[in-house]
Symmetry: C2
Subunit: 288 residues, 2 copies
């Protein structure tokens, strides 16, 4: 596994490889790798000649009251895990290398004022800036993002569409425990009884999907259904349960096309998020 | 010569060519081609396997009181000229194709509040947006820009540096008449006597360079010198004569490093611009 810290060196290496016909798969991360990241890398491994992973804790996407300084870092362990997942090239730039100039400001005007983004002013501006830079540095054919953070995937799909990056965004399903709980480093903060309740988040989303497949088309009734399930079957406090078109993240009054049901629930020491993206079957257009 | 109007088609074609090892030179234009554009294309022809020219009158870089609607267009003549200059691929998108989504706003915070940019609020935001899109669509190894608009070159070099586009920006010298007057479609608006005076703009810049090479290091005295020459030898009214570091476009109090002397002069029916970029010789560091 090669390691680069300099932008020009990795850029030069990858331009040459691509000119020789190699395809590049890219997994951008902030490090402290867990199974979710490794799943992305393993899928990239299967689908590309060269797998590049970046590890960069991006100061631009942290708010003034967020945990940039204390964000966990473990580069040696990360390198070992990346290698085992099939990564060929690790990109580990310093912040000075990534932000040597700053005459261009990027701002995201859509898809950001809902869900978790509504509370993180400027977060996605930092995300699209670093992702634009990384796409230009790595030049991937395919870039892999986990649907655990479905809003991030939506914003990045908007970026790629608006600025025409020649990259295919691969949406990778959330990695789950056997009982359906979305894997998260925060799950360890759940008490024993909370851990038993927590799979209800995913179960209620899947049961909601079944109701929709059976004909329920009203977003309000689906939200109420999930609300009732979580209130009745867990001790968690609901932060939000919201339904939007996906990836546009605009409100809808009928459950049709592609849409997301997303939720956040606060337990005692852990706030859990989960979501489901549903593509409604096309309705018959011709009635005989 | 191939012609494309669809983003996905030209992008797909060029990705394949690059994967086969071909280098791509790119000349972005707004059409109504003149000798300046053709010089860019000819240089691109000499230095690349494939030459791509875009013709797109970008609505985003025109202000509300500027001439977007009346901007001259002549696609048939442009195609003929492009072909004769050695262009292989012409990209002619419609505005709807280029701006189908708009969730990302790009803003340039440096290099824009001086020279002509100070009077064109938002102009360079539109320039960097369309250039970012075109770079992503075309994926050039080399992109060619004329130094007649030296501020645009500076802003684009900032863009490439800040967002790490894998493209080499080629600065192409201003094309001039035999007497040194910078070629411009506006020169036809000069009266016969103005046409005789107009080469003083370039002459005064070249004589200023000679004074600097001979030891003059004070920007104020150089500006006065040029001011006096133009006032004495032409009927034009000076709009500005300014000196900045290049490409940063920040004020300097000593003429050292790389810097630009730029000017704009109003004649009766034509406002002419010209500039010279000077790289001062390194001073001796060791004194024995």
């Amino acid at each position: 596994m090669k390691k680069y810290t300099s932008i020009s060196s990795i850029q030069e290496f990858l331009v040459k490889e691509k000119r020789r016909g190699k395809t590049v798969g890219f997994v951008p991360t902030m490090g402290f790798l867990h199974e979710g990241h490794l799943t992305l890398a393993q899928q990239a491994r299967r689908e590309n000649d060269i797998v590049v992973m970046s590890i960069f804790v991006n100061p631009l996407q942290f708010g003034p009251n967020e945990d940039f300084e204390s964000y966990p870092r473990n580069p040696e362990r990360d390198a070992e895990l990346a290698r085992s997942a099939g990564v060929d090239v690790l990109f580990l730039p310093e912040a000075d290398e990534m932000y040597s100039g700053s005459s261009i400001k990027m701002h995201v005007t859509e898809r950001t004022q809902v869900l978790c983004g509504s509370k993180r002013e400027g977060h996605f501006d930092g995300v699209v800036t670093v992702v634009s830079k990384l796409f230009n540095i790595v030049g991937p054919d395919n870039a892999y993002f986990g649907l655990k953070d479905a809003q991030q995937v939506a914003v990045i799909e908007g970026l790629v569409n608006d600025l025409n990056f020649p990259v295919n965004i691969v949406r990778v399903p959330t990695v789950r425990e056997d009982d359906g709980l979305a894997k998260s480093s925060r799950n360890v903060y759940l008490s024993d009884s909370e851990r038993i309740e927590a799979p209800v988040l995913n179960k209620s989303l899947k049961d909601a999907e079944r109701l929709i497949r059976e004909g329920e088309a009203d977003p309000g009734r689906i939200i109420s259904y999930i609300q009732n399930r979580i209130s009745a079957e867990t001790s968690g406090i609901i932060d939000y349960i919201e339904i939007y078109s996906y990836p546009e993240l605009t409100p809808i009054d009928q459950l049709q096309g592609e849409f997301i049901i997303a939720l956040a629930v606060k337990f005692n020491k852990a706030r859990l998020i989960d979501n489901i993206i549903i593509k409604a079957a096309q309705e018959e257009i011709h009635h005989v």
